[in-house]
Structures are given as C-alpha cells and as structure tokens.
C-alpha cells in the first residue's frame, strides 16, 4: 500500500501534513544540514516585521516541566532582508514557505504583507496575532475578537495570498476567535500559539525571563492544544487548520489530525532534535500503512465522541 500523504489545505496543496512552526525553525536554512527541507509539507519562518527587529532583552528562555518559556520578542531580519537573502535560497532548496508576519499596529501588518506582494515563492501568509511577548500588538489583537476581525479584514484586502491566522490560546472562547478570523476573511487557522506563563529564579526572587512572563510551549500544553483544535473543528467543520502544541512523535501528529487538524506544525521539538520533522514524514506514512489508512486526509476530524453525559445525583 502506498499511502497518500498529500494534504489539501484550502487553496494550498501540501506534500504532506508535517510543517514546522514559526520561531522554532529559524528561516529554515539552519535546518538544511539535518533534514531535507523539500520533504516537509511546509515551513513557517520566524515572525517577520516591517523593519528588522532586535527582540527583547535577555534572559529570553527557560526550561519548565515538560516545556519551556520564551520571550524572544520577535527578533528577526525584517521582511526585506528575508525576501532578498533567505527566500531565494529556500526556494532553491524546494521548501514550501509560509511567511509568518507580525506588527505593532494594523499598519505594520499591512506593510509587511504588501512587501510580500505577489511573491510566488511565498505559499501562504501566517498572521501572528497571538504573540504574548510584546507590549503592543500581539495578543492585544489575538485576545479581542473585534480587534482581531478588524485587523484580519485589513490584511485580507492587502494580500491575495492564502491567509492563515494564528490564534492565541489565552482566551475564554477559542471558537469566538476562530469565527472572528474566518468571518473577516481568513482562509485557514493555526492553533495554538503559546500560553502565558511565569517562572521564578528563587535565589534572586526575580522572573527567570527578562520580560517577566513568557510563552509556554512543549509537551506540557499538548492537551490544551488538542482540545482547542477539536473545539474549532467541531464549530467550523470546513476551515483548514494547522494544529500545534507539544508535538513530538508520530502518534502526537495523528492525534492532532484525528482531533481535526488538516496539518500540523512541529515547534519546540525542533530544538530537542533538529532532524525530527523530516523523520516524522516517513513515520507518518508507516503509521498509516500499519493502520490501513490509505490517505492521510481520511484521518482528519475522525475523533469519535460520545454525547456528553455528566453527573447524576443519588
């Protein structure tokens, strides 16, 4: 049996559903020694801004139980340097490139997507409205459905690229965020970004992260991410979803697909093992074969839930 790994993702067709998550995969090129970039479904590059950005003062990262906190503050080379220096090389290596973008204001976002313009070597634009590590922008959009809708509308009218909106999990109602983004013109959703956390250096009685709080990622958040993917899939049966949060093994990949993701992004696990994402492509094919799944898309959203019965009284 040859397994069909190809994945329809709105207007995109991905080779397979294994992509890599923004901020955990650099500009992709750094991984060329450890895996074949062309073998991945897609790679989402480090969040790009209108101008080059220095990011936040250190310390920026710390390990936590089954995960880590980060407050990088979106350090990046800027959209111009990306398009001039990174993108041609990525294209040469056969990578399917998703440009992850951010800004402090609506104008900033629009400026970045306008610079991308009709660039065909960018397969899709992923809008980060959910970075918890900046004072302006970031989560201000992601945690407020009205602000989110207004932002997505403006970006939508500024680009014809497939538009993926990356949602913040730090919300009461992820479905409300999802609906706001989709109604405003998003073609697809990415979930989840990191959860806001705090870790303390006890000897100094200071936060371990210079920005005080940071974004929690890694296996610790996987159950929350899976739940949100499932909730959004249930509410919006048609929207393409990138699922992510603590994925480390092929079983985790399949769990996200079953919960409703059309494709997944590997994040923090790239730090633990830079060859992982490439290996998962092969492992996914093997998993499907051993489970008699002919097309990986047949797995999507197949979670069998029972009607929710809660407590009964004596």
């Amino acid at each position: 049996m040859t397994v069909d790994l190809s994945t329809a993702f709105g207007r995109l067709r991905l080779k397979n559903p294994i992509a890599t998550a923004s901020g955990t995969f650099g500009y992709g090129l750094e991984f060329a020694d450890y895996l074949d970039l062309a073998s991945l479904g897609a790679i989402s590059v480090k969040g790009l801004s209108r101008r080059p950005c220095h990011g936040n003062p250190p310390p920026r990262i710390c390990e936590t139980d089954a995960g880590m906190l980060n407050a990088i503050g979106l350090q990046n080379v800027g959209i111009d340097a990306f398009l001039a220096e990174k993108l041609p090389e990525l294209a040469r290596l056969g990578a399917t490139v998703i440009a992850n973008v951010w800004g402090d204001t609506e104008e900033d976002y629009v400026a970045v997507v306008e610079r991308i313009g009709h660039e065909r070597r960018v397969a899709a634009v992923e809008v980060n409205v959910s970075c918890p590590n900046v004072v302006r922008g970031g989560m201000v959009f992601g945690n407020n459905p009205e602000a989110l809708a207004a932002l997505v509308k403006r970006i939508r009218s500024a680009t014809r690229h497939p538009l993926v909106v990356k949602l913040s999990p730090n919300v009461t109602d992820i479905v409300a965020s999802a609906r706001a983004a989709v109604d405003a013109g998003a073609d697809a959703l990415s979930l989840i970004n990191t959860l806001v956390g705090l870790a303390i250096d006890l000897e100094r009685r200071e936060p371990k992260i210079g920005f005080t709080t940071g974004g929690l990622s890694g296996p610790a958040i996987r159950p929350i991410a899976l739940r949100m993917v499932w909730e959004v899939r249930t509410a919006l049966p048609k929207i393409p979803i990138f699922g992510m949060g603590g994925i480390e093994t092929v079983e985790h990949v399949v769990e996200f697909l079953v919960a409703g993701a059309n494709a997944v992004q590997i994040g923090t696990a790239n730090f633990r093992d830079p060859s992982l994402a490439g290996r998962l492509v092969g492992e996914l094919a093997a998993w499907c074969e051993s489970h008699d799944v002919a097309r990986v898309s047949d797995l999507v959203g197949t979670l069998r839930t029972r009607p929710r019965k809660d407590h009964s009284f004596a």
């Binding site: 020694d33 990011g55 250190p58 310390p59 880590m68 980060n70 923090t268 730090f271």
Partner: protein, 268 residues
C-alpha cells in the same frame, strides 16, 4: 557543519565537588571539532531535563583505544546530574560541533598567548592547550577555583604547556595563590608578560573583570561565553547577549567565542 548523531557513553570519571568527565564515542563530531566548539547533549529520553544541554568539547582523545569526546561537567541541576549517571554503552543524542571556535589560525610561532580559566571554565581550554602545544605556540595558563578540588585536569595542562607555565589561584589558598585568577594575570602583566591574545572561560564576574583588565592593557581577548540555550544552532534566538553595536547576538552561533570588546557589558 554540525552533525546530529547518537554517541555512546564510554566512561564517566567522577572528581570531587560534583565534577566529572564524560567520555562519549567521537562519532563524526570528533574529526570536525576545533578548540572552543561545543555540543548539545540530550540527557536521556525523559521529560526532565526536557531540552538538550550545552557543553564545551573539552578534548578529542581516546578512551580504552576508542576515539572519544571528553566533556568536563559540573553538576548544577537536573541535566548535569542526569548525565553523570548513565551506564556505559548508553546512546545519547548529540549535536555538534557547534559555534565559533577560538581564533587560533592567525597565531604565529613567535606569539605567546594566555589561557584564563575560572572554575568549570577550564573545559574549552583543554583542547585549546593541546592544540597550541601541538603547534608549538607558547601559552601561559592562569586557572582559578574555590579550592584545590575545584581545579581540574592539572596533569593535562601541565603536560601540554609545561608545569612552569601553569599558575593557580584559589579562594582559600589551598592551591597556588590565594585570591582571584585575574590577579594572577595582573601580576604576570606587571612582570612584563606580553600576550598576543588572551583566551578565557569562566563565570560572568570573571569575564567582566577580565574585560576591563584587557581593555586597560590594550590586549586582545577571546571569551568562550555561556548562556541558557534551547537549540544551540541559532534558531530559537534564546541565548542572546547585548552587543556594543546595539544588536542582540546569539552566543550559540555568533559565539561562544567572542571578542570581549563586542559585548555590551553594561547591558549584560
């Protein structure tokens, strides 16, 4: 180019004060390693530690006839504690060699250099000492620790550099001079020592003092810096330090060996 491979534990030698040498099979990393390079080691399959940990490749050597990488490690937390306990033969994922090594290619036979180590900062200087010795370049070692047990691998350094070139300082005076390692260097300079370059590794406080000292003496330096690292190869942007040009630079990719003049010590 770095390699992501699985290396076997060949041997673990425990020293006093929670220090140990960990010998791993050299794999493809050994042949590529230069003094100052480091590797990211995953301490087992569990969730604690979760991320790989960074260690200088202290030496490229042999252990019982097998090509080996030596790491000299101080136990400070879960990862360094876990690595001390693996049985011989255990395979560990290792990524390396990583980073910018010490600049040594430009050294001339007539040059004399200084090596300054504080505590566990000896680690990257072992292979450096071996390499300089092999090239016939004279090097003085200034090595400070809290006490005699904190000063490791003296035999190696004295073999590579000559015993007379190795000077020690300890906080309690149990070995060498009582006091700071920087004082050893100050004295050497006062006695007329001139160095083409000063290679150093140690705690931040030592680096700060040394940076001032070198600036005052107008000496060139190369510091092997540390920082908490998630990836080790320039993609997480977690390990940065502030630079004098206003940027934040990754210690894993633009370092670990950097000229002290590039670091903005005031913002660090």
């Amino acid at each position: 180019m770095a390699v992501n491979e699985s290396l076997r534990v060949l041997k673990t030698i425990h020293y006093d004060e929670g220090h140990y040498s960990l010998f791993l099979s050299a794999g493809a990393i050994g042949a590529r390693t230069k003094p100052g390079h480091f590797a990211m080691i995953q301490a087992g399959e569990g969730l604690r530690p979760y991320l790989r940990r960074a260690f200088s490749i202290a030496d490229v050597t042999t252990m019982a006839g097998v090509p080996a990488l030596e790491f000299v490690i101080k136990i400070v937390g879960v990862g360094t504690a876990a690595l001390a306990r693996f049985a011989e033969g255990t395979p560990l994922p290792v990524l390396g060699p990583l980073g910018v090594p010490f600049p040594i290619d430009d050294l001339l036979h007539s040059d004399r250099v200084a090596l300054v180590a504080g505590g566990i900062g000896l680690a990257p200087l072992v292979l450096l000492a071996r390499t300089l010795a092999a090239r016939g370049i004279a090097a003085d070692l200034f090595y400070g620790g809290r006490n005699e047990n904190d000063v490791l691998k003296r035999g190696d350094f004295e073999r590579f550099l000559g015993p007379h070139r190795c000077r020690y300082a300890t906080d309690d005076g149990s070995l060498g001079r009582k006091g700071r390692v920087t004082e050893l260097l100050t004295h050497a300079l006062a006695r007329g020592g001139r160095y083409r370059r000063v290679y150093a590794c140690g705690p931040v406080a030592m680096f700060r003092a040394l940076a001032t000292l070198l600036a005052d003496a107008n000496l060139e330096g190369s510091f092997a810096m540390e920082s908490e690292m998630a990836c080790g190869f320039g993609v997480c942007l977690g390990c940065v330090v502030p630079m004098t040009d206003g940027r934040f630079a990754t210690i894993c990719k633009e370092g670990p060996c950097v000229p002290p003049t590039a670091i903005d010590w005031a913002r660090l």
